[in-house]
């Protein structure tokens, strides 16, 4: 039930427990227990809303930053990552393979603020060797959802 429950609420976290029970063919109480367990184990880390801010009056600028770091004794990647992800403007931090080490995504109100964050906060960290900033120009797909997709049913209305 665990995997089925997760894949069901991954796309729609607003389905209530009683409906989940119907869809999964389980008892409500069992679904509730499992859900609680998943939250406690931090398998479920949160319930978020996918918003296309472009369509609102609120200005948001995002950037993806490649960060190359140097490791010091007693300080692994986790420690450096933590220093970076503690900033609230940092949306995500990944340790990655390839040409650089950490990939950081940032969200701010303006280009200027992002520039300031990179030059004042990120680049000045002792462990950071270099950064490369990429501004996001347009979002097409996020969390597996195509943002501007209008689905219409093009099937015939009745078929055998």
């Amino acid at each position: 039930m665990r995997e089925q429950l997760l894949s069901l609420i991954e796309k729609n976290s607003r389905i209530g427990i009683s409906e989940l029970a119907v869809l999964l063919g389980k008892e409500e109480i069992d679904v509730e227990k499992e859900n609680k367990k998943l939250e406690e184990e931090r398998v479920i880390c949160g319930y978020h809303t996918l918003i296309d801010w472009e369509k609102t009056s609120i200005e948001k600028v995002s950037a993806i930053i490649e960060v190359r770091v140097t490791l010091q004794r007693g300080q692994g990647f986790d420690k450096i990552a933590q220093r970076i992800y503690n900033y609230p403007e940092v949306k995500s931090v990944y340790l990655i393979s390839g040409g650089f080490d950490l990939m950081v995504t940032l969200e701010e109100k303006s280009l200027k603020e992002i520039a300031a964050f990179v030059s004042d906060k990120l680049s000045t960290l002792d462990n950071v060797l270099s950064t490369g900033t990429h501004f996001v120009l347009k979002r097409y797909k996020e969390h597996g959802t195509i943002l501007d997709e209008e689905k219409e049913d093009s099937r015939e209305v009745v078929t055998p």
Binding site: Q4, S7, L8, E19, V22, L23, L24, G25, D153, R155, E156, V157, V158, T159, P160
Partner: protein
């Protein structure tokens, strides 16, 4: 001018679905639950393979029986799902949908006067295709109390010395019924005793919700008297690609290939290349779609339970087949009023044979959101009927 039309063809009734389609299509904002095809688009990697084939200029005929690589994939698919081995060169033919396979199989086997046993409610093509081929149709009216399964007793009662072919349509459209190993073994005994040949239409084989599909061809002594029909439409959401296949004894496939060769030439080439990709890398897509259908199936059954509407639990395809006898309306009256008063279209059971009277086919090839709205409306409608 004299009448140029064939008596045989003019005597065939147009599909009951068609009649209902005309009523629905006049209704602008109706929610339809009447569709017999998946709501999912063909998975992208399969579509991409089709595009790639166009780009590579694979725009020619294939061999009559279909691409060799596709027949090989079909053979290995049936081996891994059912454990039966079909020779990809001699025992498999790729057709234009499962429907073509039904047609040419009947044409390849029927001599005038041969009886074809057709359990109903079932897909609309069997009886007309058999009639066109000169067959005499013997209809078995399946029963709600048997969960619309075909029982050995019902089959036995339909057999005469002219009986030749039995059509076995499971998982079933429109009832959603399935037949398990145990059911089929009882049937197989009668089939072998009476020397019948089976056309097993297993187009919904990937859409079962109670264990894996079991093909009658796997039962001892059945492989040589079974034509297994399947296709890509339902399992991989590829209805518009028009691609199906049939597997069976070499002598039958050989005759079917002749008809196919003269009437069709070959199934669409692009579709065949895409289907190779579907069989190679499509298992996960099928599993995902199956899980979605299953959730919707449970949702509908639960809604019926809450409404107090009688419905056996179907474990196959993407249809539920609730009983509407309590309202004292015919299926057609019920469906028409449901459409006019609540703007929801569901197909009257009678479109699939007389024994569908008193039932409604509701398809769950729709998003949950849509099904929720439709069930709200159904509840209103039923409550109103019960009060009046």
């Amino acid at each position: 001018m004299r009448n140029f039309l064939s008596d045989k063809v003019t005597q065939i009734q147009p599909s009951g679905i068609r009649k209902f389609f005309d009523i629905v299509s006049e209704m602008k904002d109706a929610i339809s639950l009447g569709v017999g095809e998946p709501d999912f688009e063909t998975p992208w990697h399969i579509r991409e393979e089709g595009i790639y084939s166009f780009e590579k200029g694979r725009t020619f005929y294939t061999s009559n029986s279909g691409l060799k690589s596709l027949r090989e994939e079909i053979s290995s698919y049936i081996k891994r799902t059912q454990g039966i081995i079909y020779n990809s060169d001699k025992e498999i033919i790729v057709t234009v949908g499962g429907s073509e396979a039904i047609d040419i199989a009947l044409r390849a086997m029927i001599n005038p006067g041969d009886e074809v046993i057709i359990p109903q409610p079932s897909y609309v093509s069997y009886a007309p295709c058999s009639s066109l081929a000169g067959g005499v149709n013997v209809i078995i009216n399946l029963k709600n109390e048997h969960n619309f399964k075909l029982t050995a007793e019902e089959l036995e009662a339909a057999i005469t010395d002219k009986s030749k072919i039995l059509i076995l349509p499971y998982p079933n459209n429109p009832t959603g019924a399935i037949m398990d190993k145990n059911d089929l073994e009882k049937l197989a005994k009668v089939i072998i005793e009476n020397d019948l040949f089976i056309i097993s239409d297993e187009i919904y084989s990937e859409l079962t919700y109670k264990g894996k599909h079991f093909s009658i061809a796997t039962i001892e002594g059945m492989r040589e008297r079974t034509l297994l029909i399947n296709g890509f439409s339902k399992s991989y959401a590829m209805t518009g690609w028009r691609l199906g296949y049939a597997c069976g004894p070499e002598n039958l496939i050989k005759q079917m290939t002749k008809i196919h060769q003269y009437a069709i030439m070959c199934a669409p080439t692009i579709s065949q290349y895409a289907a190779v990709e579907a069989l190679k890398n499509g298992d996960e897509d099928v599993a995902k779609m199956r899980e979605s259908y299953n959730q919707r199936r449970r949702f509908l059954l639960n809604s019926f339970k809450e409404m107090g509407l009688e419905c056996f639990e179907p474990f196959g395809a993407f249809y539920v087949f609730p009983c509407i006898r309590e309202f004292g309306l015919t299926s057609e009256e019920f469906a028409t009023r449901f459409l006019q008063e609540e703007k929801v279209a569901a197909v009257p059971g009678t479109a699939f044979g007389c024994s569908g009277e008193g039932f409604l086919r509701i398809s769950y090839a729709y998003s949950l959101e849509k099904l929720k709205v439709a069930m709200e409306r159904m509840k209103n409608f039923i409550e109103r009927l019960r009060k009046s």
